[in-house]
């Protein structure tokens, strides 16, 4: 049968890989919410969640169960289908990013070489950029479909914020691409492992810009204007209840983990463990060490996100726009010029 003549083992391998990555991401996300509450508690000098299980470790399960058990309410005045699609879209968009992140070097199982990356497309970074720009639809559709003034205001805020900071983010990325000369995330990480410095050495300013923009794209404090409780009640997910609300809240944490993974891969060597020669151990063990290194880097970044959230107060909306358009974009353009000049002077 010529119709289905393709490599089924390849499809199955990729499906298993996708399932593992998505499930692991969701599991880590669960515990990121727990981590957030613990970090907040430590910074505010209080114990934090400590009732469910030892050290409160079962707290995320209890939270999830609570969300699922709540009554599902779809407002009469809402656009029913869009109201349902909104949270799903937000979640899908944030999970799609993980397709191009290289989680480690290849491992060898059952006589096959399995790359720990779902798709090594030669436009990896642009793919991430496209998915990020899709992420705002979940918020916009949900906020509009709720048929609530506050939700709509919040959705519009989220959209304009995302668009504004995407520009500076793209310009920071261009400067990075000028130094690496490739768009494939795998090649970028490999270039950093092979005895070179990490990209942060070449692009310190670009990293700072990218980090700030990533924080804005994830709607994290100090950029969480779409969820500003004191002026918007609750934000774009005001009318949502049960697991739909949970999806929106979860998507924010998944976004945070994914942007941490991207920053680790692009600026901090990805799965590269510094001062360690991976060729001295068996390839499978090296891959596991790489995976562990990447996870540790992700956790550190997530902690940084949380630290900033519980330290810095929220911007005002005009301040946010001023920062985006009048400071970030010129700074990113300057960074691009500087990088170009340095590359030219080296030639």
């Amino acid at each position: 049968m010529t119709l289905l003549a393709f490599d089924w083992a390849f499809i199955i391998e990729k499906l298993i890989l996708i399932a593992i990555i998505v499930l692991t991401t969701l599991l880590i996300t669960l515990y990121t919410t727990f981590g957030e509450r613990k970090v907040a508690a430590i910074l505010q000098d209080r114990p934090g969640p400590n009732r469910a299980g030892p050290f409160g470790l079962l707290q995320p399960l209890a939270d999830g169960l609570k969300l699922i058990m709540k009554e599902e309410i779809i407002p009469n005045a809402s656009s029913r289908w869009l109201f349902i699609i909104g949270p799903g879209l937000a979640m899908t968009a944030s999970l799609m990013t993980c397709a191009v992140i290289p989680w480690g070097t290849a491992i060898h199982l059952f006589g096959r070489t399995i790359e720990l990356q779902v798709a090594d497309v030669n436009i990896g970074i642009l793919y991430i950029f496209a998915v990020v720009s899709m992420g705002v639809y979940g918020i916009m559709i949900g906020g509009w479909a709720s048929n609530n003034k506050f939700s709509l205001m919040s959705a519009l805020r989220a959209a304009s914020q995302a668009i504004s900071y995407e520009i500076a983010m793209g310009l920071a990325l261009i400067a990075l691409l000028m130094t690496t000369g490739t768009l494939s995330l795998k090649t970028i990480v490999e270039d950093q492992t092979a005895g070179h410095w990490w990209n942060i050495v070449y692009q310190p300013l670009g990293f700072v810009i990218f980090f700030i923009c990533a924080m804005a794209e994830c709607n994290r404090t100090p950029f969480d204007l779409p969820e500003a409780e004191n002026e918007l009640n609750f934000g774009y997910h005001q009318e949502y209840s049960s697991m739909k609300l949970g999806f929106y809240l979860f998507a924010e944490y998944v976004n945070m983990i994914m942007s941490s993974a991207i920053m680790a891969s692009m600026y901090f060597g990805g799965y590269d463990l510094p001062f360690f020669d991976e060729t001295t151990v068996a390839p499978n063990i090296a891959a596991m060490i790489g995976l562990g290194t990447l996870l540790i880097k992700i956790v550190l970044f997530v902690f940084l996100f949380m630290w900033i959230r519980w330290t810095i107060p929220r911007f005002r909306y005009d301040q946010l726009m001023n920062l985006g358009w009048k400071k970030m974009i010129p700074l990113a353009l300057f960074n691009m010029l500087l990088t170009g000049a340095l590359i030219l002077s080296k030639l």
Binding site: L3, A5, N122, L126, I141, E166, W325
Partner: protein
Amino acid sequence: MNVLEIIFYALSAFALVCAIMVLISKNPIHSVLWLILVFFAISGHYILLNAQFLAIVNIIVYAGAIMVLFLFVIMLINVKKDSEPQKQLFVKLIGVIAGGSFLTLSISLVKQAMPLVGKTVPLKEGTIGLIHPLGKALFNDYVVPFEISSVLFLSAMVGAVLIGKK
């Protein structure tokens, strides 16, 4: 029929259905959302032609930026399907003329494409849509138009910032 053909027909059908839905949706927000799906289908076609760069730029620019602005504006002006005023005869007439001209244009385009009938498209193997050949073509053969359009974009951006500063 091989897998590529099945994907091609599925994508085409999807694009056409979505395009029809753009036209017949009463609610302008729904129209915009269907239009976004059309852009995704077209990006799928680009990927079939192995033009990954074009596919992703199509999503970033059209689906990711322009359509967000469309949604933004429509949500702000809040068009209700009931409150939409009845169009005058004059406006309807202009619409008919514009639509007719566009139809003529499309027919002439289809006619010009007649020599292509029966030719096969190199699915999955062309390289012009990949980033390296495209960059080489842009910076060698088409460098002057490319630079002029970049200056145009830059001036638009500076202008936007300037207006925002007032």
